[in-house]
Symmetry: C2
Subunit: 254 residues, 2 copies
C-alpha cells in the first residue's frame, strides 16, 4: 500500500503512475488557483476512494447499499460520474469507490459518524464537500454555528483524520452556491467568509483543493444562466455535476 | 431546425458546428468499424436527444418524471453519463435529453409505444439499443421471435421512424453481452446472428453505428474480467456504462 508514496512530502503528491484523460485534454490547464500543481495521482491497486459530504454528494444514493462501485450506492451526482469514468479508464487499478454523503449534513454531523463512515473504511483517497448546510440551516434558524465554528470544527475533523490515516490523499472541495433559487443576498458576505475558511483549512491540512465555486463562476461568466448548473442555487443539475466531476479529476489527477 | 442539415446526404452527417472532447482526446481513433467516419455532429439549439431501449438504457430511471435533463429521469446508465457530459460541455446548445428506455423491452415493445415515447417527442437525435431481451426471453421460453423476426421488425420500426422524422440523426447501438453471469454457451451463435442483423439494419437505415460489443471485447482482451464491465453479463456496471458513454460520444461526435 505504501510503495507508491513519496517520503519526501507529508502531503499526497506522488510520483506519476499513469496519465489522466483530464490532463491529456488540457482540462487541467483550465484550473488555476488550486493548492497543488496538477499531476497524475499514483494510487495502489485495490485502494478505497471515499466521497463524503451532504446532499450534493449524496445525490440520491441508496444508503442501504454499502457495496463499492455499485450504481445505486454511488448516487446520481459527481461521485457517480467520477467513479464511472475512473473505473472505466483504469480497470487495472481495481479501485473501490464509496459514497457516504448524507443529505442535510453539516460538519458536526460528519464528526458524529466519522469513525464508521470514514476512518473504518480506510480510504486511500478521501474527498470532502461540506459547508452549505452550515450556513443554510443557520439562515433558516435551525442551527447557530458561526463561520469560526465551521472553520475550527472542520480543521479538527481533518486533524483527526490525518492522525488516523497518515498516508491519506486528502481532497477538499470548495463549497459553492449559484446566485438563484434559494440563494439570495442574505447568504452574503457570510458565505464568502465560510468559503475562504474552507480553503484555509484545506491548505493547513495539506489537502488538494477543488475549486468548484471558481469553476461555476467561470461558467456563469461565460453566459450560462446560474440555474442551468443548479436549479435551486445549491443542488447541481446533471450538467453541474459533470462540471464538478471534470474539475475534481483535473485537480486530483486521476 | 434545418439550417444545419446537409441536403447532399440522406443521412445525418452535418457540417461541423463544434469540436468534441472525444475527438480531441483521440478516443474517436480507437473506434473502428463504425458505419460513418467520426466528425462533429451539428445540432440546432434546443434540440431533443432521446435514448430508447431496454433495461440497459432504463438503468433505474424514474419513469414518473418526464422532464428533460432531470437526474432521476435519466437513470444511472450511459444516457445519464452522456447527457451530463454533453450538457456541461455545450451549455449554449440548450439540449433537451430524454431517456425512455424500459426494462424488459424487445422490439415489439418499442413498436407498441413508439408514437408516444418516440415520434411525439420529435427528437433531433434518436439513440436505440435493443435486442438482448429478444434473445434472452426466447432462451427462457417466454418469447418465440426468431433472429429474422428481430431483423425485420427492427427494420420496419426504423423505416416508420424515418418517414415520421425525415431529418432525424439516427444512432443504433450494437447489442452486446459479456461472457459471464447469465450469458452462457446457449446464447451462441444466435446472439452473433442477431448482432449482425442489428448492424445490417442500421446500415440500411443510414444510421450511425455504436460498436459496444467491439469495445467490450477489446476491454476484455486487454485483461479485464468480463464481470468488471457487466456483473451478470447483460447489465453494465458503472465502469461499463462509462465505456459505453465514451464510445457513444466518439461515434456521434458530440
Amino acid at each position: 500500500m505504501t510503495g507508491f508514496r513519496s517520503s519526501s512530502s507529508g502531503i499526497s503528491r506522488r510520483r506519476a503512475l499513469f496519465a489522466t484523460a483530464a490532463t491529456a485534454t488540457g482540462a487541467a490547464s483550465a484550473i488555476s488557483g488550486s493548492l497543488a500543481a496538477v499531476q497524475p495521482l499514483a494510487i495502489a491497486p485495490g485502494s478505497v476512494l471515499l466521497f463524503q459530504g451532504d446532499s450534493i454528494t449524496d445525490a440520491g444514493r441508496d444508503r442501504n447499499q454499502p457495496a463499492a462501485n455499485h450504481a445505486a450506492a454511488l448516487g446520481r451526482g459527481y461521485p457517480m460520474l467520477t467513479a464511472a469514468a475512473v473505473l472505466a479508464e483504469h480497470p487495472q487499478l481495481n479501485l473501490k469507490v464509496l459514497n457516504r454523503g448524507i443529505s442535510g449534513n453539516k460538519v458536526p454531523d460528519l464528526e458524529a459518524r466519522w469513525q464508521a463512515d470514514c476512518l473504518d473504511l480506510k480510504p486511500a483517497v478521501l474527498s470532502i464537500l461540506i459547508g452549505v448546510n452550515d450556513i443554510w440551516h443557520k439562515l433558516n434558524g435551525k442551527y447557530d454555528g458561526t463561520p469560526e465554528v465551521y472553520r475550527d470544527s472542520f480543521a479538527a475533523l481533518l486533524q483527526r483524520t490525518r492522525e488516523a490515516l497518515p498516508n491519506l490523499t486528502l481532497v477538499i472541495c470548495e463549497p459553492f452556491v449559484l446566485r438563484c433559487g434559494a440563494v439570495n443576498d442574505t447568504w452574503f458576505p457570510e458565505f464568502e467568509t465560510r468559503r475562504a475558511f474552507a480553503e484555509q483549512v484545506a491548505k493547513e491540512a495539506n489537502a488538494l483543493w477543488v475549486p468548484f465555486q471558481k469553476k461555476f463562476d467561470e461558467a456563469v461568466a461565460g453566459g450560462t444562466a446560474p440555474n442551468y448548473w443548479a436549479a435551486d442555487g445549491v443542488h447541481p443539475t446533471p450538467a453541474g455535476h459533470a462540471l464538478m466531476a471534470q474539475t475534481w479529476r483535473a485537480v486530483v489527477g486521476i
